[in-house]
Symmetry: C2
Subunit: 594 residues, 2 copies
């Protein structure tokens, strides 16, 4: 198994040199978020990720999580790693200081989270789910619920879960049937939930389940769903743990990957009914759930980037070591010298850099949407986050799978052998395009809710942003800027053309618009990645021109941007026809002929 | 687990209606290869594939092959299925009647083989490897070797293997170290080989290993390699099995997929040295091996198509059954009605149809190259096969992985669970871009040997062939022909532009040419698939215009071709820049900066 070295140099470049940190520093409460603080956080997080989490990634995959008599045992080292994580205060970074959080911006949190996922994707899901529970309770919990749960969830002493899916209700959450019957100050919950990540485990004393269910008189469909907090152990008035609630893990799924993450079938209320407490209003459960979806989707998008980074590191290490053939002078050639291997590594590297910049930039907008003084600035930032969230989720997770697969290819035959570890990344990566809303759902969300609903306002503002970058590239010296300008402008034209088409045709016939949603999202992501490469090029070229910093790093950044410009961006124009014409065959094909 | 239904309707369309069978019927010895014969073969093969091989595909994956005390046990039902296969005469279809073969054209063999692979990829590798051994011995064996081995290999009573790879010698076969020391009429072989598919098993009494090794005075590198036939049991003069040869399976690899196919580490000559017999001349072993590589590579390309077909069938079945949400009138909607799901299924379907037609067409050229009366016709057919072989191998196997992955996506969350069976297809498919020459090697072969070596002759002839099809589409009625003509012409322009660039720049600097080899191959495959869709469109439209046959089938074929035209072909132009410009960043990127 290969090591994981946190890519702190590129993380610092993105945060410090693309203007993200300076944008954060202008937000109230974030004035002291200095580059030094960021450095310190990255360095310490890198130690935990590389030294503690990464070494148990492969063994966790081999051992998996096991269920015996309702008790889920995690793989060796997982509970200990979690204790170190909690003791180091890592869980509390982005949360409200009122409940023990450190109040750091999301941007910093997401950089640390990238490391947890790269180091150990299966393990990292546990704190990621807790984060969702904290977000939900912070936003919608009663003062009493907040004081009961938030401190323990924020510290990481307890973990949280999201209980949405039922066997017949996957993407169609509104079809769920779990029942919640009022009884005094609480409800009795009965029903079965599937695909509950970290629904049961041995890493903490308590687990706080957030459960969607229907009250007896609820209207049908998605308008009749309420949200409940259902702890594994009830909480006594003094905050100590009380009786075991009526809920249990009845089986674990046998999955392709993330095997160390227990994916539970949870049964609520086999006996008297599990005790749950309403969060927010009755029948408003789905709306509550949506408040944490943006974050959760960005987190899952991040996982595409993170696993790609891990696969890339392993592929580079192998390509340096593996010798095949010899050069003209007879010296043995490591395969990293072969053009096709270099192409694969650059495809991985430049995509990762584009994704990282895009995810971090979106996290910065999220911080702005929450903290900016000016309501208009908050609103504009929120609209940008809303627009980019499905792109981050789907584009990055699709690339995550493609890059993990490419990592296997770099290895050749040995890559197909489990012990090499390259295939674990592919297996682990393959869930991310599915959960937290399939990538098809993301594309639908992008087209229907994010582009069409506001008449294209947010999309057009984003396109203008990219055009401004093209203009700036025109003022910038160097071959990369020139080549990138040409390709980014072409990509931007393609994005504008397809967006206009959607605004006209989509308003006329939503089925047509949705038939092209997936290629539209891919086109959007490709251009958005190119826009971030433009910002990277401007920053790197400026540093080179000013002769500051490390020229090797900046030259590599330019070469990576150039690779992206000349190899990845040109695919954008090829997606115009799939969006604007592809719908005909999609919609007209006779169902019986499949 | 889902069933497998052999897609005989599309197979017959490709063979009968795209002119392949009529081309075969013009070859000496093939005059009687009638459509009725083809129908009978397809029907019976479909029964064996669907009824015997497919039902043990998932259980084979779960059980895998096991090694104990040098004995490899195959999964339940595998040996019995193999017996039925041999008893049915299926192994002998394409081989020389002099040794018991049926002398059927490759085209028919490949259609049956598609079914074996779709039904059970792991199992199908065993006869596929035997086929390679038959080809090698038929071409290069002495009369005595032929009479000793061919009949048993052709009937399938014995199986064959290919022993090339050693741990340090993968793509660089020339680096191998296994030694062969002459001793009377034979050699003593000593060395270790890895990744030997079906190197040991319990399905037959004997296994015939074809082994590459070095004689004591051989020159270094690839010019010092000789080929040997090394049977597991030596053969007595009367043809009965004699003593056990000094070779054994010392371990099995733990792989991502094709788990029921034993991938062996083979040790030759741990004791006195394994007895082997020289095939062909000393030091000409690699050249011998290349004679069977075209076939083997087409077979592996076929496996990309085959596994995609299986994944598609499973995805369609699920999409018809799975209900999520309801239509405007409240009727529950199977997900096959959602535009994005339809897009996924059409991406799978149209790619599969393009691949099938391309593979079968290439097999037809292979038959022509072997059987045509006219030497010029043979040569032209051989040049076409040589050109298309790397395209078939790499393009189809890359698509196989992409389509298997898409099959998971259609399933949503349940797709990630092993018991559903969708992930087995992804796991199984992932080896095909690696073995029989990685797809990077295929791209290098395409550019350096197939396009540049003859100054672009074969490539230009192929491009002219595509242009002729564009012309024919212009004469054809209907929207599909019109749309496909536009997109195919654009794809063909892209292929011509990049080919010309390679001929100029590649001659000047091979590293540049090789840096763009992978996108060039993808572009080539995309256009070649489009060309086959053009032939399908012409045939389907003609049948519709003439009001013959089943209009539903032909309309579906047109819709599928239109989908390919408007969604897949437009990607071709996006690959011009990666070929013609992408090399700069690839070659200039500083190695230390990876």
């Amino acid at each position: 198994m290969t090591a994981y070295n946190a890519p702190t140099r590129d993380m610092r470049f993105v945060m410090n040199e693309l203007g993200l940190l300076s944008a954060i520093q202008q937000l109230p409460g974030c004035e002291d978020t200095s580059a030094e603080l960021v450095d310190a956080v990255l360095e310490e997080a890198g130690k935990l990720a590389g030294g503690v989490l990464a070494p148990i990634n492969a063994s966790g995959d081999t051992q998996g999580a096991t269920l015996e008599n309702g008790v889920v045992r995690t793989a060796e080292g997982f509970a200990d790693a979690y204790r170190q994580f909690v003791d180091g205060g890592w869980n509390s970074m982005p949360f409200d200081p009122e409940y023990g959080g450190q109040g750091l911006p999301w941007l910093i949190g997401i950089a640390a989270e990238e490391m947890w996922i790269s180091a150990n994707n299966a393990w990292s899901l546990c704190p990621m789910l807790t984060m969702g529970a904290v977000d939900l309770l912070s936003e919608h919990g009663t003062p009493e619920q907040k004081s009961t749960y938030l401190e323990k969830l924020i510290s990481g002493e307890w973990t949280g879960t999201m209980n949405l899916t039922e066997p017949h209700a996957g993407s169609d959450v509104g079809a769920l049937r779990t029942r919640a019957v009022p009884e005094g100050d609480h409800y009795r919950i009965k029903g079965q939930k599937t695909f509950i990540s970290w629904g049961e485990h041995d890493m903490t004393d308590n687990i706080v389940h957030l459960v969607l269910a229907r009250t007896p008189d609820a209207p049908p469909g998605s308008k009749g769903i309420s949200l409940f907090v259902v702890p594994k152990f009830l909480i006594n008035e003094d905050g100590s743990l009380g009786q075991r609630n009526d809920l249990r893990c009845v089986s674990l799924e046998h999955k392709l990957g993330i095997k160390a993450s227990p994916t539970c079938v949870m049964s609520f209320g086999d006996d008297e009914g599990a005790i749950g407490y309403l969060v927010g209003e009755e029948n408003k459960g789905l709306a509550c759930m949506f408040t944490m979806m943006n974050n959760a989707r960005i987190n899952v998008g991040l996982s595409g980037l993170s696993i790609a980074e891990r696969a890339y590191q392993q592929a580079v290490e192998y390509a340096r070591d593996r010798v095949q053939g010899a050069g003209p002078d007879g010296t043995p050639l490591p395969i990293i010298r072969y053009p096709d291997v270099r192409r694969m590594l650059l495809t991985m590297k430049s995509s990762i850099e584009a994704m990282r910049a895009l995810v971090y930039d979106t996290a910065t907008s999220l911080d702005q949407s929450r903290r900016a003084d000016d309501p208009e600035a908050r609103q504009a930032a929120q609209a940008r986050v809303d627009l980019l969230t499905p792109v981050v989720k789907a584009w990055c997770t699709d690339l995550g799978v493609e890059i993990a697969s490419m990592g296997i290819q770099v290895h050749g035959g040995i890559g197909y052998i489990e012990e090499t570890g390259a295939v674990q990344h592919l297996r682990d990566s393959r869930i991310a395009p599915i959960y937290e809303g399939t990538n098809g759902i993301q594309a639908q969300d992008l087209v229907a809710r994010k582009v069409l609903r506001d008449g294209g306002d947010a999309a057009k503002r984003y396109i203008a942003e990219v055009r401004t970058l093209c203009g700036a590239l025109g003022e910038c010296s160097g071959d990369t800027a020139s080549s990138l300008r040409t390709q980014l402008a072409a990509g931007c034209d393609a994005l504008a053309e397809t967006t206009d088409w959607l605004l006209v045709e989509g308003s006329a016939d939503m089925a047509r618009a949705l038939a092209g949603a997936t290629p539209y999202l891919r086109l959007f992501g490709t251009v958005a990645g190119g826009a971030m490469m433009a910002r990277a090029t401007l920053a790197a070229q400026a540093s080179l021109d000013a002769e500051t910093g490390d020229p090797a790093f900046y030259n590599a950044k330019l070469a990576s941007a150039r690779f992206y410009a000349e190899n990845i961006l040109p695919q954008a124009a090829g997606l115009i026809a799939p969006v604007c014409q592809g719908h005909r065959a999609v919609l007209e094909f006779a169902e019986d002929s499949f």
